[in-house]
Structure formats: C-alpha cells, structure tokens
C-alpha cells in the first residue's frame, strides 16, 4: 500500500529544501521536472487540507512550471552574452531561505538553553516607583506606541447609549371602548386601519388584546379580508 507521511513544512521553500536534502540533489543543478512533479503531488494533498496555506504552495508550483518551460526553450542571454539559467533566481531564494532557517536552528538552541535559567526580578509585587526624569520620560516609547495608545483611548471612549423609557398608560378597557366606537360608526373596520395611527408597540398590543377580548364576549366578529395580512372587524350579534 502506498503511504504518505505528511510532515510539517513552513512553506514552499522549506518543502523544496526537504526534497533537495532527501534526494541529495545538487542545489545548483536542480532536476526541475522531477521536483515539480513531487511538489505538485504534495500540493494536491494539502489543497484538501488547508486552502489558505495551499495558496503559497500553488504559487511556487506555478513558478516551478514556468521554470520548466523556460528550460525547454533556447536560453535567454544577458548583456554580457552569457546564458541565463532559468533556475538561478529560485536557487538564490532557496539559499537565502536556508541561511535563515539554519540560524533559526541556532536560535532555537539558544532559546532552549535560556529557558533553563530563571532571572531574578521574577516578581511583580514591589514595583519600582521612579520619579520620572526628563531623559527617561520617553524611555522605550516610540511614536508608534503613542499612536497606538491614542487610538486605543479614542476607540475606548464610546458613549454609553441612554434609553429613555416613557410610561404609557393604556388599558384594555380604553381600547375596548375605542374599538366599539369605531365599529358603531363604520360597521366594518380593517385591523390595519384600526392600528394605523398607533406609534407605540405597546398600544397596538393592548388594542389586539382588547380585540380578542371583544371577540370572546361576542361583541365583534372577525372576517377574512381580501387584503393581504389583514382582517375585518364586524359588529357582533349581541
């Protein structure tokens, strides 16, 4: 069975370096077609996993294919008349990256050493209260720190929203009276016209309750209306 072990690579350059090291390739003479093929296999694999990361790999894949094509064409010539190796730029980028990758191994080693030491001053209780002097007033503070702090403060000061609540004295009895009066004079009233001029939600709700109340005691009847989302109020039988 074909098994793939998916190692973690920091980026396309890291992956290329891995191929070069694993197959003991000469970095100055990379077999582009072979490495492109392997690279694409890997890209297809991670495409399924993480599209975000895959983007950088796909870019490199297309660069590799571009180089591959240029390798097949007659070589371009620079101003001195020398042939330009289409791989030169890639090799340069790889070496540059490798350089920092190596140093980062050094740094990681230093980090692990340093973690074994504990500094004195590992406390926060007795903070030094120093009288600020003129030359220390801006110690370790850059203009960006100031700008950042300023922005933070500006964004922080948001006015608390104040809501005013008005108390409305609406009773069901009042609304019952209102509905009856309307029915008496008009015979037929649409529900929407009934609540048309009401601004407050609570008034509409109370009116609706009053309406239900009136239906219950038989003072009014309800009828389907031709208008959408509406109904008719009619005078009841008793």
């Amino acid at each position: 069975m074909y098994k793939i072990k998916l190692e973690h690579f920091e980026g396309p350059l890291d992956l290329l370096l891995f191929f070069i090291k694993r197959d003991e390739l000469n970095i100055y003479d990379i077999p582009i077609s072979k490495i492109t093929k392997e690279f694409l296999e890997y890209v297809n694999l991670i495409k399924m996993l993480d599209l975000e990361v895959a983007g950088d790999f796909i870019l490199m894949a297309s660069t590799l294919m571009h180089i591959k094509v240029r390798m097949l064409l007659p070589r371009e010539v620079d101003e001195k008349g020398e042939e330009i190796d289409p791989r030169a730029e890639l090799v340069k980028a790889l070496l540059e990256y490798k350089r920092y990758k190596e140093v980062s191994d050094d740094l990681a080693y230093m980090e692990s050493n340093q973690r074994k030491l504990s500094f004195r001053g590992n406390f926060s209780a007795d903070e030094k209260v120093a009288v600020p002097e003129y030359d220390t007033l801006l110690k370790n503070v850059t203009v960006y720190d100031l700008a950042k702090a300023f922005k933070h403060v500006l964004e922080g000061v948001k006015e608390e929203p104040v809501h005013q609540i008005q108390r409305l004295n609406i009773t069901i009895d009042e609304q019952i009276e209102y509905i009856i009066n309307l029915i008496e004079t008009h015979d037929e009233v649409h529900f929407l016209t009934l609540v048309e001029n009401m601004k407050e939600k609570i008034r509409i709700i109370v009116t609706f309750i009053a309406l239900l109340e009136l239906v219950k005691i038989g003072r009014i009847k309800l009828k389907e209306s031709k208008r959408f989302n509406d109904f008719l109020l009619l005078k009841g039988d008793n």
């Binding site: 490199m60 990758k101 190596e102 140093v103 050493n113 030491l117 500094f119 590992n122 007795d126």
Partner: protein, 215 residues
Amino acid sequence: MEKIYNSVIEALIFSSDDVISANEMIKAIKVIDGEEVQVSAGEIEEAIDFLNKNYEEQNLSFRILRIANGYLFATTKDYSKYVGYLSSEKSKRRLSQAAVETLSIIAYKQPITKPVIESIRGVNSDYILNTLLEKNLVTISGRAESVGRPLLYSTTEEFLKYFGLNKLSDLPKPREIEEIMNDEDFIEQKRKIMMNTLEDSMENEIRTDENADQT
C-alpha cells in the same frame, strides 16, 4: 576602582528588578560618592567577572548574566527543573519553528518590511508577525521610504533577553551561502536541540504524573 565597589555593583544588580546597565550603575555611584570617583564600564565588567568567579568557587546557584546591554542575576541551569516547577514563567510554550524563523530574518535584516520577510520565507507572515509583536519580541521601528511607506520591524530588548544575548552583534553569524552546502556541523546542532526537547518532555511527564497522583 576601589574594592568596595565590587559589593556595590553586586547590590545594585541584585536589587534591580530588570536588566541594569553599566551606565545606570556608574550614575548611581557618582551621585552618592561624588563625580570624582573613577568608575568605568570596563571596571564594571571586571567586577562582574570577579563576582562570578567567586560564585563559581563557592558553588553558588546563581550567576550574573550579561544580557540585553546590561546585567541580571539568574539561576544556573543545574537548578532549572526545581525552579521551573515553581515558576509559571518557564512553563510558557516555546516559540514555533515559524516564529523563530521569522525572528531570525528580522534580527539579521532589521529594520525590515513585511513584504521582504514574506519574500524570503515564501509564505504569508501576518499571523506570525502579530504574535511576535504581542510577545514584545519585535516592534515597529518606523516606516520605509519606499512606495507605500510600509512599516519597518526590528527586534526588542526582550528579544535579547529571551535568547540570552547581550547585544545584537552576539547573534550567531549566518554562514555564507557557499558554506551552507556542507551540512555536517548542523547535524550536531540538531542533536543538541533534540536533547533539550527531550529533557523538557521528560519534565512535563514528571509533572503530569504528579498531577495524576494528586487527583
């Protein structure tokens, strides 16, 4: 410099809650004992050597470190397991490989813009840069004069402290590109890192065992 100042310097470093520079110490001495006292940064260096030698001879558990352009007391690594057990400071997670990689690029090429970092790494570095900024290992040091005036990033004193460096020039020298092809010595380096990681994980195991015992 009179001998008494060895102890003065020791006291100043001991009482300081963060890295203290030679200049700060010279200033303190001169304010108290008068401008005519002869103390130079070089003499302070000598005093530190003298003190550290004393500590070593007496087998004490701490030394004075030269770190981030100054001096600081620190326990020696022989006691890291015990100290680390008590201090939450050390149980913090290590930096990821991506973070160290990005840091090394910034350290050597600072001040540097994000596009340059990304072109060297070949990957988007937004997230990593933000993490490093948050940890105060790098800082924004200005804007480049180039088109769009992109932000420039540099390392901080915290960075020096984190890696135990006194100044930026103490950073390991990156090899010249020709040398890079000969990989032998890095196998050794890798092995050392592996050893340290191994110790770390062993410590963690001890800790989890203990926690399991308690519950």
